[in-house]
């Protein structure tokens, strides 16, 4: 019965989170699902969208929904690594002696909003690498672990390129998902306007704490995956590598410059398990893999000039890869 409760709690928690988020965010169902999946999985999310689509609002709302320490870092070109991670300062102790003390930076939270992350210099961006992957920060030889759950939610504007520094592939790979905020429909736009007429603050309240998130993560890890689905997911990742001799994907050979890292496979399976549970299923299906292939692969593969020349977006290339992979079932 206790176990049944765990499953029920998972569903309830997801429903609560989504309910709270919908207080501040209109539409964007897939985006919300992806963000929730990433939160449960403990993965980082890169939110990309044109200005005003609610990227920051979504993350701020999420921060309020989860009863977790939240911090926001506004990335600018003059932002230094120490501004993110923290620094050692010299101060007098109680006895009047000068001592060195580590002053924690804004990264020391459990939900970190890295707003407009591509505006910081690569040096500062690099300061995020360790914490995003290993959930710890090393400053002056001292390593400081982050409290769990921890995840970074970053935003970036795909249109504005002046004064920005594209994220290096190594850092991009550390984002579990790259979620694209789509422009709202007319009705959604109206709802957004109405919602923000009274006040701009987020309305979400904390409904899930960190412990619950960790329980949900643990539960999701037990979702069974049959070998065929696992192979399907791995084959999809493999197909993005046109350079592999045993890769017969015509799409990859034609449109992909370089493919996804093994982290993509991990993200696919981990995310697919949570997605299955969110959707009320208790096993991972091919559809779960396909659905998550977009946010997982979107920032991990690079399309070549042929694709650009033919007007193919990265999502269309991923769609072709999925279609090709489906034939192998």
């Amino acid at each position: 019965m206790e176990n049944e409760q765990l499953i029920q709690n998972f569903a309830d928690s997801v429903a609560k989170i989504k309910g709270e988020l919908h207080k501040d965010i209109v539409g964007q169902e897939e985006v919300l699902d992806a963000v929730i999946i990433a939160v449960v999985a403990g993965g980082n999310v890169l939110l990309e969208g044109v200005p005003g689509t609610g990227k920051t609002r979504l993350i701020r709302s999420l921060g309020q929904t989860l009863d977790l320490p939240f911090s926001r870092i506004q990335f600018t070109p003059d932002l230094m690594p120490n501004d993110v991670t923290g620094t050692n300062i010299i101060r007098k102790d109680e006895n009047g002696n000068l001592v060195t003390t580590f002053q924690k930076g804004p990264i020391f939270a459990q939900i970190v909003l890295a707003d407009e992350i591509n505006r910081a210099t690569p040096k500062t961006q690099a300061a995020m690498l360790e914490v995003m992957q290993e959930h710890k920060v090393t400053v002056s030889g001292v390593t400081y672990p982050m409290a769990e759950p921890f995840f970074v939610l970053a935003t970036q504007n795909p249109v504005e390129q002046d004064g920005t520094y594209p994220l290096p592939e190594a850092q991009m790979d550390r984002f579990m998902f790259k979620v694209t905020m789509i422009f709202p429909s007319t009705k959604e736009l109206g709802d957004i306007v109405n919602m923000t007429q009274g006040h701009m603050e987020e309305n979400a309240t904390a409904v899930v704490n960190g412990e619950t998130i960790l329980e949900m993560r643990k539960l999701a890890q037990g979702v069974p995956v049959i070998p065929e689905v696992l192979e399907y997911a791995m084959r999809l990742v493999e197909m993005t590598h046109a350079e592999l001799e045993d890769n017969n994907s015509e799409t990859a050979k034609k449109y992909v410059r370089y493919g996804a890292s093994p982290r993509a496979g991990q993200a696919l399976i981990t995310g697919a398990k949570i997605r299955a549970l969110i959707n009320g299923n208790y096993n991972v299906s091919y559809d779960d893999i396909d659905a998550l292939a977009y946010p997982v692969l979107r920032h991990r593969i690079k399309i070549n000039y042929n694709a650009i020349n033919e007007g193919l977006s990265i999502d269309k290339v991923i769609g072709l890869l999925i279609k090709e992979n489906r034939k192998n079932i």
Partner: protein, 612 residues
């Protein structure tokens, strides 16, 4: 697995069974079809059950292998159900983790079973393999198509021999009876043996009856072949020449008798006569006892050959040869008796004595002649001696008398000898008569048997026409049409030739008038005719010859050799170019090379021109 899953599983197993059966049937059809084609193409005798067995074995083997080795397991069935019923891998996961226990696995299993409980097996479509239908279609087409290959179709009897046509029953009967009637009429008028005629007519009647309303080519052919065999048997019974001839040529030691045997076997009447003539010569060369022995030998060998031939004594050829043998034996016996008689012995003794007396008389005559010569010499030596003269005359007279006596004795001896050999001559004469009689009888019988053979062959040809009388009739009509066309063409050609000759005759008449007028130019024309072009020997020779002829005939015509042909000059007035037609002022010209079919007419024209 719960009952719901088994329910679906059962349905998919039935589907698998059907697929396996279809593949098995396809393999069987393909195998049987290929077998039919291969057997048909290689001309191997068709045995229907072999192909059926091949098809059945292949079908059973394919079905068995597919059903056992391609039998879907639970995982495949679950995957199929997931796909067809959009169950998002619930059943596959359930099957995969059916032996594991955990919170989510148990929950997943319950969820899968719950979802499956709401599904109906009808939601799973009955799917055949992608290749099921195409393979079955190809195999079926191959199998069906094999029946249309000529060899197989013929072997199976599906279609008739394509070289033959279907027959129409009604016309067929009429035409068959016509052929039979014609054949019987021809047989009646022939010189064939009467018994054979009767027997062959019976065979034909029976065949016509059998062929009535039978329009199957193979069946007709079979019946006709049987009838032809019956004709052959009848002919064998009627004709004995082959058996007797073979036996005689094989058993005889006498070369003439061997030749006689071969001649009889071949039905060669001239050779028979030659062989009997040779026997006569052998007998003529023999005398007395030798002749007796030879005649007995001939009789013995003939009788032996007849005995071993196995031919009935009623056979006419047998009888003819038997008669010859009997005659020979009788003749030999008669001669032997004469040779053994006292009178004959006395005659022979008298002949010997007369011969002896003749020889003695001849010796005396020679002695008297010698004495006369001596007396003559003496008288010549003493011409004055009258006595010597008288003695010489007497001696001469005596010598003449002795000579006369010797001649008389010789004549008497010859008469005695003739009297003694009279019996042998009589025997030879008798043998000659016997052989001539045998020659006549044997050749008559051979003629008869040859006629039998010929009629039997014609009878069999008529029977062959009955296989497909319409076709034969068509061929006959076609030949007839072709012959009529040839006759018409020939008539047209004859008419054209007649017209050409008439025209040529007119031309000749005109040319004769011209020749008469130009007789004064003969000399100059002859000189021109003798002129030769270098390297044109034939034309030049022709020119000389024709020129000479022309001059002799007073026509003044000459022929010149040229590279392109032969030019003839008619007294310097008419020119004929074999390559070009030129209507000269002085006369008409004819082109042989361009006139084509008229080349023969041109030749006739020249023949008539130069040899009027």
């Amino acid at each position: 697995m719960n009952n719901d899953f088994n329910k679906f599983k059962k349905k998919l197993m039935v589907e698998h069974l059907v697929k396996s059966i279809l593949f098995g049937v396809a393999a069987g059809l393909a195998g049987a079809g290929l077998s039919l084609v291969v057997f048909g193409l290689t001309g191997t005798d068709f045995i229907a059950w072999v192909h059926i067995l091949i098809g059945v074995v292949l079908a059973a083997a394919t079905f068995g292998l597919l059903y056992i080795y391609k039998r879907p397991d639970d995982k495949k069935i679950a995957a199929r159900l997931d796909k067809d019923m959009h169950l998002q891998e619930k059943l596959s996961t359930m099957v995969q983790f059916q032996n594991q226990e955990s919170l989510l696995i148990n929950k997943q299993r319950d969820d899968a079973n719950e979802k499956l409980a709401f599904k109906n097996p009808k939601q799973v479509p009955f799917k055949l393999a992608v290749l099921n239908i195409p393979i079955l279609a190809v195999a079926g087409a191959l199998f069906a198509g094999s029946f249309f290959s000529p060899a197989v179709a013929k072997a199976l009897g599906i279609v008739d021999d394509p070289t033959k046509t279907d027959l129409d029953g009604t016309d067929l009967n009429e035409r068959t009876e016509e052929i039979a009637k014609d054949a019987k009429d021809a047989l009646e008028e022939s010189q064939a043996d009467e018994d054979l005629k009767e027997e062959m007519n019976d065979i034909m009647d029976e065949l016509v009856e059998d062929l009535e309303d039978d329009n199957d080519i193979d069946s007709r052919t079979e019946k006709i072949e049987d009838a032809k065999s019956a004709v052959d048997e009848a002919l064998d019974r009627a004709n004995s020449k082959e058996e007797i001839g073979e036996s005689l040529s094989g058993n005889a030691t006498n070369e003439a008798l061997k030749d006689l045997g071969e001649a009889i076997q071949n039905g060669d009447t001239e050779a028979v006569s030659e062989a009997l003539k040779a026997l006569e010569e052998q007998l003529a060369a023999a005398e007395g006892q030798e002749k007796v022995d030879l005649m007995n030998q001939i009789a013995d060998e003939i009788e032996k050959a007849l005995a071993e031939s196995g031919i009935s004594e009623d056979d006419p050829l047998y009888q003819a040869l038997k008669d010859l043998a009997n005659d020979m034996r009788e003749n030999a016996a008669a001669l032997q008796e004469q040779l053994n008689s006292d009178e004959q012995k006395a005659l022979e003794e008298a002949a010997e004595q007369a011969q002896q007396a003749a020889e003695d008389a001849q010796a005396a005559a020679e002695a008297a002649q010698q004495a006369a010569e001596e007396a003559q010499q003496n008288a010549e030596a003493n011409p004055s001696d009258a006595a010597a003269q008288q003695a010489a005359q007497d001696a001469q007279a005596a010598a003449e008398a002795a000579q006369q006596a010797a001649q008389d004795a010789q004549q008497a001896a010859q008469q005695a000898q003739q009297a003694a050999s009279e019996s042998s001559d009589n025997a030879q004469k008798q043998a000659k008569e016997d052989l001539e009689e045998a020659d006549k009888m044997i050749n008559e019988e051979l003629d008869q048997q040859n006629a039998n053979e010929e009629e039997a062959e014609q009878f069999k040809q008529a029977m062959d026409e009955m296989v497909d009388p319409e076709e034969e009739e068509d061929e006959f009509d076609a030949e007839k049409d072709e012959k009529e066309k040839e006759d018409e063409k020939q008539e047209e050609q004859d008419q054209e030739q007649t017209d050409d000759k008439q025209e040529q005759t007119d031309d000749k008449q005109e040319q004769s008038d011209d020749k008469q007028e130009q007789s004064d130019d003969q000399q100059s024309g002859q000189q021109q005719g003798q002129q030769q072009q270098p390297g044109q020997q034939q034309g030049s020779q022709s020119g000389q010859g024709q020129g000479g002829t022309g001059a002799g005939a007073g026509s003044g015509q000459f022929t010149y050799g040229s590279n392109d042909g032969v030019y003839t000059e008619d007294g310097g007035q008419n020119l004929t170019d074999n390559n070009n037609i030129e209507d000269g002022q002085a006369g008409a010209l004819t082109d042989a090379s361009e006139s084509g079919d008229e080349s023969g007419d041109i030749s006739d024209y020249f023949d008539n021109l130069y040899n009027p």
